[in-house]
């Protein structure tokens, strides 16, 4: 599969500087919004976690009850931070690998604004009690419309950018991103149209579609985009190509063939064939995990120390490990004997956190810390705070996932013991939850450092690019005024 030499007219080659400059507006919009939402998500997450220390904490205000703050936190984390950062990083990788400028950067930024507007009214809706009641899809109809249009605009222009590429042959990162760009509108439209239209589907077909959507979002979309970013950066940081394209192809096919059927829990009150197929498919995703492990190990044959040297490399390395653990936890939780214990417990919540924040989020942090200085031409104001962010995020996510996983397993055994009262089961789980609050706190401080660093960088950028221009303008105006 040797890439034949480019057949495209090699008339004009675009410099890396030009490509990065074209990314500046859309990426800055996407990343700053993502960082703001990330802080919002961690504040909501912390509020929700504090409810387990004192159930009546802020419970007299309807919009701050657990049942509203919790979905607000998950939706902000998914749509505000993770997907938005993912789309930004995807756009940059597509432009860089295609050696072409981003198409219509201002329109992409407008798409991002639409997305953010939809999310904002959606979250306000959830807090006001308009949640749809379907997990990961709580945003009400009026928010969904803007999110969908915003996504279509961003994804369409990303595809145009992809189409304009100078280097025609495709690499693994590009397959993954292309499939992901196409995947989301289909699943999002299907789920929202069937669940929220004027004549929604009825009965258990509703949760089946919601579970199908969640599986496709959490495993397929986050898996494809997260691995695209990890593969791209491992090659870049190690300065060598991926160990095996064929194994990457295996990863790709197993994600789109198996992970797309996962998501329906074994206990679901639906015809048995549905959870059975889903269980088999989920267990088969172990092939995805193994193929990624082999490929990453092969690429870093002489040790991964090179990736560790840069701050981005640390985030990417953590994200890769979190991917392996999160997906293995998912496989383990689907094995029939185990699922009867872990199902409907905090184990699943821990797995979800590890997948979205530990794997996807950390990979995005690594990418953002690498990309933003390149795109703006300005270094991060504080490299120390990047290092601190890494440690806070890494320790924070471990402090969330470990107690939730262990607490979930204990909770599963407790529920299975009919002699133990409901209150006792809940109380036993509370100790673990309270431990996870520390993790939420760490993550929140880390998120604030990312936002602070981004704002600091923006201020520097303005100082470099706008202040001299303004001074010049003022200097030009003044003599003119003096003459009059």
């Amino acid at each position: 599969m040797n890439a034949t030499s480019t057949t495209s007219s090699a008339s004009e080659s675009i410099s890396i500087g030009e490509i990065d400059a074209s990314c500046r507006v859309p990426l800055f919009t996407l990343f700053v919004s993502a960082a703001v939402w990330l802080v919002v998500a961690s504040v909501f997450g912390l509020l929700a976690s504090l409810k387990f220390h004192s159930p009546n904490f802020l419970s007299d205000c309807a919009c701050l009850t657990y049942g509203r703050v919790h979905p607000a936190a998950t939706n902000v984390l998914i749509y505000g931070f993770a997907m938005q950062a993912g789309l930004g990083v995807a756009l940059w990788i597509i432009a860089r690998l295609g050696e072409t400028r981003v198409a219509q950067p201002w329109l992409i930024a407008a798409g991002a604004k639409l997305w953010n507007f939809g999310l904002l009214i959606g979250i306000i809706g959830i807090l006001a009690g308009d949640s749809t009641g379907f997990e990961n899809l709580e945003i009400p109809r009026y928010g969904v419309v803007f999110l969908f249009l915003g996504y279509l605009l961003i994804a369409f222009l990303s595809l145009v950018t992809f189409h304009n590429r100078k280097e025609r042959a495709l690499g693994p990162s590009q397959w993954f991103l292309l499939a992901a760009l196409f995947w989301f509108p289909w699943i999002y439209f299907t789920a929202n149209y069937l669940l929220l239209s004027h004549t929604p589907i009825r009965g258990v077909t509703q949760p089946i579609v919601a579970w199908w959507y969640s599986g496709n979002l959490n495993l397929v979309w986050f898996g494809l985009v997260g691995l695209a970013v990890i593969f791209y950066f491992i090659q870049k940081l190690m300065n060598r190509p991926l160990y095996s394209r064929h194994i990457a192809l295996l990863t790709f096919w197993t994600i789109i063939l198996f992970a797309s059927w996962s998501g329906i829990p074994g206990s679901a009150p639906v015809p048995a064939w549905i959870p059975s197929i889903s269980t088999v498919a989920t267990i088969l995703t172990v092939v995805t995990v193994l193929s990624v492990m082999v490929n990453v190990r092969g690429t870093c044959a002489r040790g991964c120390s090179q990736t560790e040297s840069s701050a981005s490399g640390k985030f990417i390395a953590f994200g890769t490990m979190a991917f392996v653990v999160a997906w293995l936890m998912n496989v383990l939780g689907a094995v029939p004997g185990v699922s009867s214990v872990t199902n409907l417990t905090w184990y699943g919540v821990g797995q979800w956190q590890l997948n979205v924040f530990g794997f996807f989020g950390m990979a995005m942090f690594g990418a953002i810390y690498h990309i933003v200085p390149q795109v703006t031409g300005i270094e991060w104001p504080s490299t120390k705070s990047v290092r601190i962010h890494y440690w806070l995020a890494a320790v924070g996510i471990i402090l969330i996932v470990l107690p939730l996983a262990i607490g979930g397993i204990i909770q599963g055994f407790n529920w299975a013991n009919p002699k133990m009262s409901n209150v006792d089961v809940a109380k036993n789980a509370l100790h673990f939850l309270r431990a996870s609050t520390t993790g939420e706190l760490f993550i929140m401080v880390g998120n604030l450092m990312l936002l602070g660093n981004l704002i600091g960088l923006a201020v520097r950028y303005c100082k470099v690019h706008f202040v001299p221009v303004c001074k010049e303008a003022i200097a030009e105006v003044k003599p003119a005024e003096a003459k009059i």
Binding site: M1, P55, N56, S59, D60, A62, T65, Y66, G67, R68, H70, P71, G129, S131, G133, E135, H163, L170, Q174, A179, F182, W183, W186, I187, T190, I201, R202, G203, V204, T205, Q206, P207, I208, V209, W212, F252, W253, I256, L257, S260, W261, I264, S267, A268, P269, V270, P271, I274, S340, L344, T345, W346, G348, Q411, W415, A416, N417, P418, N422, V423
Partner: protein, 289 residues
Amino acid sequence: MKFGPLVFLAAFLALSASWCGFVLTPQVQLGRAVQETNSVVKTELYPAGRPGLAREGLEVYRANGCAYCHSQQVEQKGTLVDVVLTDAGKTPMDVANALNEAQVGKFSGPSVGAGLPKPILQGTTLEHASVLANALKKAGANTELRLVATGSDIQRGWGMRRTVAQDFISDATVMPGSLRVGPDLANVGSRLPDLNWQLVHLFNPAAVTKNSPMPAYRFLFERKKIGKQPSPDALRLTGEFAPADGYEVVPKPEAKALAVYLISLRSDTPLYEAPLTPPAAAATNAPAK
């Protein structure tokens, strides 16, 4: 895969397959499910459909995210059979012999007929139960086989059988839940059918369940001065949880709707896909723990 269209084709095929499997096929299989008379009591349509106020209550349940802590899906390990002796017949000696031969306990002739109907063999398989029933029939006795669901959820008293698709077909939003911070609610209406209990529990869970970790939903209630006459809806609160003299706690319409919805959550009708013998028929059925 060197070309964009190939990647698109691969993604398209994979996603179509998954879409046909988990979106289209369930819709074809279940999408037009209607009330059925497939319960054991043939004249009853199931599910009966919720009253209007309960349907409003479902909206309150959805808006406040009750499903993040409470599931609505009872699981079941299997189904076992109890053999109940309903009539010892005219030859109690033969019956006692048959019972002793089957080694289900020691019986002497006259004691067999005492305290009928009584369970003589509990938690066995259908084959075993049939063998015993046939032996007793030969001896002139009448028996009844009772189907009992097993599993920890059932033992907790969360339901009499597992939850099935049919239970949900009349609901606008179906929320089976994904986490059990608190107990399952699939059958809470038959477990706790008292409206005042439900309302007091919503107003202050600790008042009825000691150390309950559930938050109080006071914003669904109004604390006001008692007018000329006390409101008929006022909560019956006692002890430390009672409001100050001259005041009463009255549920807002949302609270009433939610409580009515909770009481309407009953999935104890026997169905072919989840059979059980309804308890009303047996006087000897042990009370749920």
